[in-house]
């Protein structure tokens, strides 16, 4: 890390930035979009949430004990489960159980491997590393998990005839639902693949930008970014795979019968 301190932003600077936002609200009002209240509410909510998180992080960093770090990670995890539950409109049978297990295993494993083993801060729970890196891993896994769960429901519904035809020919539930599983898993991996392909050319990723702004040498920031991208893709892939592999089973009875879901 470089010693160069980042330039602080004062209240006036933030108000100036808020002016840009108000310009958008003004444009929305001018064109009668009808979303001005939502925009303002969202902006206030964002400011409130970030300030709260800021104070919380400040306190956790100062305390520097494993328990508050782990409690915060558990809260992030619970919030992720709740948000995914809200986003997925057609839920598979046993949705929350499948989702919780998949997120715990997928994100837990990758977080441990990347934060504790690869980055290896001392102490292992160093909140400056563990909290933002876990946040990125869980946040990105949320998108993959949502896509996997949503797509699996759609595939199982659209492929009902195909699946029952295969069952009638003596297929097991696993054989009959192979294409549905493949379709859902493929859909879940698309954003992570696209994001990796476009990175550095179409956009500079947030973590890297943040590190550079705070004075980190660009090549170190790049190495962190490469590492976190693989970790994110790993977490998205493992979580999505567990969701589709566990989820697909729940559409069948032990006698390889397709349950009547719709």
């Amino acid at each position: 890390m470089s010693d160069a301190a980042i330039l602080d932003l004062g209240l006036f600077d933030l108000l100036l930035a808020y002016g840009l936002f108000l310009l958008v609200v003004g444009l929305a009002r001018l064109r009668d979009v009808g979303q001005e209240r939502d925009l303002i509410w969202a902006s206030l909510r964002m400011v409130g949430q970030l300030l709260l998180v800021g104070y919380l992080l400040h306190w956790i960093f100062a305390w520097n004990r494993p328990l508050p770090v782990l409690v915060l990670l558990a809260l992030m995890f619970g919030f992720a489960v709740q948000v995914i539950g809200q986003r997925v409109s057609r839920k598979m049978p046993g949705f929350y159980r499948v989702l919780t297990l998949a997120l715990m295993l997928g994100c837990g494993l990758v977080t441990f491997l990347f934060c504790v083993v690869i980055v290896g801060p001392t102490p292992w729970y160093d909140p400056r590393y563990l909290i933002p890196l876990t946040g990125m891993i869980i946040g990105n896994s949320m998108n993959g998990a949502t896509l996997a769960a949503e797509r699996l429901s759609a595939e199982m519904s659209e492929r009902r005839q195909e699946i029952e035809t295969a069952l009638c020919l003596g297929a097991s539930a696993t054989q009959a639902s192979r294409e549905a599983l493949r379709g859902a898993f493929r859909a879940a991996l698309i954003p992570a693949t696209n994001s990796m392909a476009a990175m550095g050319i179409v956009f500079l990723p947030g973590m890297m930008t943040g590190q550079i702004l705070s004075g980190t040498e660009p090549m170190i920031a790049v190495r962190y970014q490469i590492g976190i991208m693989f970790a994110i893709t790993g977490a998205v892939g493992i979580t999505s795979f567990l969701i589709v592999a566990q989820g697909v089973r729940r559409y069948f009875t032990p006698a390889h019968q397709l349950r009547d879901i719709d």
Binding site: E162, E164, T165, L167, C168, L169, G170, A255, H256, Q257
Partner: protein, 249 residues
């Protein structure tokens, strides 16, 4: 061979429980074609879905060769009790790929285009030889229906369950197909249970006929006897007016 004993089945729709089958007992004649006819929604399709355990009955037993169907491995049962649905689904690939599907699922080499089995299946199902290399999804609905039947027969089932098997076929093709099927049933010892609303098809093709209504078999016997001497008023009414668009014998 196949036997339904006091089968009860309800379905939940919009929070309500609807009775589909209510104490149904039926024993299709071995090595013969038995047609099950009845008004729409009388549980015909449910009956054959229960026979190969795509669904479970709420009560009652289904026996295959004297053994409860639940005693079989579901995959083995479904190969022994083949079901051809009303709307055929073609897997991606050629007709030959589709005919070999049950072999691939068992991890056995599928038969070649020149094999005796494939020639026989094409013959039974009235399919021309040059169809084998064609994309199965591009076939006409009638051709797909016959490929679907051939694909099920390829697994050499003991019982064949057919749901409206000729709904997409023209009359002469349907007649030829069912005549061959009747022969195959006798020669190979295949028990065929066919549900249909097509009374003319049932009369021409099935040796036995069961009339299903209110969740039970109300009449069963030799097809000609049942059709000529209906004992129940509901069957007499059904023979006069099966339903819109359905065929009289």
């Amino acid at each position: 061979m196949l036997e339904f004993q006091d089968i009860r089945k309800t379905r939940r729709r919009d929070g309500k429980s609807l009775g589909i089958l209510d104490g149904l007992t039926l024993r299709p004649a071995p090595n013969r074609i038995t047609a099950v006819v009845g008004p729409s929604g009388c549980g015909k399709t449910t009956l054959i879905r229960l026979a190969n355990r795509l669904e479970e009955p709420d009560a009652g037993r289904i026996l295959l060769g004297g053994r409860d169907v639940r005693a079989f491995e579901p995959q083995e049962l479904r190969r022994r009790v083949g079901l051809v649905g009303q709307l055929p689904f073609m897997f991606p690939g050629t007709v030959l790929d589709n005919l070999g599907k049950s072999f691939v699922l068992r991890r056995v080499s599928p038969p070649s285009a020149e094999s005796e089995l494939i020639r026989e299946l094409l013959d039974i199902c009235q399919l021309p030889n040059d169809l084998l290399t064609q994309d199965a999804r591009r076939l006409s609905p009638g051709q797909q229906q016959r490929v679907s039947l051939a694909r099920t027969l390829a697994a050499a089932p003991e019982v064949l369950l057919l749901d409206e098997p000729t709904s997409a076929l023209d009359r002469p093709t349907a007649d030829r197909l069912t005549a061959t099927l009747r022969e195959v049933a006798r020669q190979r010892g295949l028990t065929v249970l066919m549900v249909t609303h097509d009374l003319r098809l049932a009369e021409r093709c099935a040796e036995r006929l069961a009339y299903l209504n209110e969740g039970r078999v109300l009449e069963e016997g030799e097809t000609s006897d049942v059709l000529r001497n209906p004992r129940h008023e509901s069957l007499r009414h059904f023979l006069r007016e099966p339903a819109d668009g359905e065929n009289h014998p």
